[in-house]
């Protein structure tokens, strides 16, 4: 995002320097020649400036800085981290979605009103970051489905069930707009401004899932069983990620309507489309058990065979039990993606002083199709050495497109230089 830094740096310098240069330097009046006395009409007193009027433009124009904050609810990009099974009745099976907590975030808008009614340059920056840490732990109650890992070897009993799950989710979106605008229409009580220009969008989402066997049903690793290590079930793990970065164009219209000399209703709609590269990744790690020798021979153990092997009636069998991993990883780095973006807001603005305004309102933003996640649909477990990990060759994947949206109430200040 180096392109963003240069305009921002220039903007900051102008914001500091231009107001100082706006002051007119006093000039020495030219000497007047004596003339015959005549009566001149009294000069009209300058009209007293109203505190409610916007300050006049300087020679370089004017600058409007708007800072705002809002708690944006994340919409659309749901993270289904598991399922819960509590019976066969229709309402007793449910998908568990990790909720996203709204986070207070800021936005910046700078408008440079060009002199001589040449229009305006607008600079917008929005950033969103939602993190979620979600867990449900129900030791000993294996009713939670491990939806994100591949089904082979999922769950301590290879039945895809866990007695607890935890998920870490991170969703980030950044957008920067550089646009040119001008008055579209103007009446005594309303004004419309159109704007159009470039936009840069970054979006990423990441989900890490852990599925536990907190109180597994395997026989306790106590005497008279021989001492064993590494047998307690490790949590199954899955990672899903998606990233998008693109540039594009957009346009919009802002309308303000004065309901009171100090109060305005302001609303706007902006539409755009960007194109760029999309990257998605998926990883699944589940655990299983080998028998590396002894009476059961060299084989991957079923759950019943594991219970049998850890029965102390078979001490020579137990010492050949080892835990290993089955891993599947796939990455898609080359997809081109077109992502539209929609931004709408409605606010009430109050003028505190001639240059200072406060505003509050609601805002909604949407990025249809910004997130693309992948998951293997067909794969093959590769042969490995006895006791070793199993790798998975992925043959086909499915792409699932998610839309991302943010809505919330916003509050801010605006100051005009």
């Amino acid at each position: 995002m180096n392109v963003i830094r240069w305009p921002a740096a220039i903007l900051c310098g102008m914001a500091l320097a231009l107001p100082l240069s706006a002051q007119d330097t006093p000039t020495t009046p030219a000497p007047t020649e004596p003339e015959t006395v005549t009566t001149k009409p009294a000069a009209e007193k300058p009209k007293q400036k109203s505190a409610l009027e916007e300050p006049p433009l300087h020679r370089w124009g004017a600058m409007d800085w708007t800072l705002g904050a809002w708690k944006a609810d994340l919409r659309g990009s749901t993270y289904a981290v598991g399922t819960v099974f509590q019976g066969t009745a229709f309402s007793n099976n449910a998908v568990i979605n990790a909720p996203a907590d709204p986070v207070l975030r800021g936005m910046v808008k700078v408008v440079w009103y060009l002199p001589k009614s040449m229009g305006q340059l607008q600079f917008h920056y929005d950033a969103f970051r939602n993190t979620t840490r979600y867990s449900v732990l129900d030791p000993g109650n294996f009713i939670y489905g491990e939806t994100q890992v591949l089904p082979e070897f999922a769950g301590v009993a290879n039945d895809g069930r866990a007695d607890g799950l935890a998920a870490d989710a991170l969703t980030k979106t950044r957008r920067f707009r550089v646009e040119y605008g001008h008055t579209a229409f103007e009446t005594p009580r309303s004004r419309g401004t159109w704007h159009a220009g470039l936009r840069y969008i970054d979006h990423s989402e990441s989900l890490d899932n852990f599925y536990y066997a907190l109180v597994s049903g395997i026989p306790p690793l106590l005497p008279p069983l021989p001492s064993l290590t590494g047998i307690e079930p490790n949590p199954d793990y899955a990672h899903v990620g998606a990233d998008y970065s693109g540039t594009g164009v957009g346009a919009g219209l802002d309308v303000e309507f004065a309901v009171h000399p100090r109060i305005k209703i302001v609303g706007g709609l902006s539409l755009g489309v960007s194109g760029g590269k999309s990257k998605s990744q998926y990883q699944s790690i589940s655990y299983f058990y080998w028998s590396t020798g002894g009476p059961l021979g060299e084989k991957i153990l079923t759950y019943d065979e594991l219970l049998y092997a850890l029965n102390v009636n078979n001490p020579d069998t137990a010492k050949f039990v080892v835990q290993s991993t089955a891993t599947a990883t796939v990455v898609d780095t080359g997809s081109f993606q077109v992502v539209p973006d929609i931004d709408a807001y409605l606010s009430v603005e109050g003028r505190v002083w001639s240059s200072l305004r406060v505003w509050a309102g609601i805002r909604a933003m949407a990025y249809p199709g910004a997130g693309i996640r992948i998951r293997p649909t067909s794969y093959q477990l590769l042969e490995t050495v006895v006791g070793g990990p199993i790798q998975t060759a992925v043959n086909t994947v499915e792409h699932t497109t998610y839309s991302v949206g943010y809505t919330g109430f916003m509050l801010g200040l605006a100051y005009r230089f």
Binding site: K71, P220, L222, P223, N311, V312, L411
Partner: protein, 259 residues
Amino acid sequence: MRESRLLAAALVVGALLGSASCHSSQPTQNTTQAIKLSFGARSLNGIWDCWDKDPGATLYCEQRFQAPNVPVLADRVTPWQYSIEISILPAGTVTETVVASSATSPPIGAPSGFPVFGSQTNFDTLTDAGRVCPSNGTPPPDCSQYHNPRSVGQGSRDVTTFNNASLTEPNILGAPDGCESQGDPACGYQVTANKGDTIIVRARKTLRANLVGVVQAYQDPELTLSGVMTVNGVVANSLGTTSSDISDGSGMVFSYTVR
């Protein structure tokens, strides 16, 4: 100048509004509950007759048979030794902490030097009317020397003493566990846990070869070890397996989440 001050004031107001997302909350209160853990064992065991024999009221016992080498068997309470480990999984966490174990060196939550299989279930206390006189022996014994006849199980104090079984007093990690009812709050091992915590109990039976004379050796005694947790005197509804398999040396794992 006035505008500068107003702007500064507005920024301060904005900062205060921004900090409105912060909030504080009172910490949740934990409720500690008294939880007792107790174990028992049962098996298909032999039936014996015992007497106090003169002189000196010496203990004497004979096993009952319904046919040569075919003992009389019944499902009876059996004293059995086992290893045990108790863990706490605090609420909202995935890592358990061992709070008591006979399998560690030194043991945790037990007296110093407590053996791995030092925990033991209760004796068989059921007594029926016994035969008046023993039947074994050549020539036949003098019945007048045999007093106080009673029929007891092979897991009774009398028979296990007579068979010189290596038993101790019923206990769980050194805490008495010899009550008639497993759910008796006067017996058992006390565990302290907060609301939301999960107590995980793991135990395994000692091998039959380590405890000779306690169960009959004519056929599989189908010995099972079972555990029970009580909360404030009420039997808790545990998850998992509270009773072991009948196979020699097998164990169980069960848990209870404090509500």
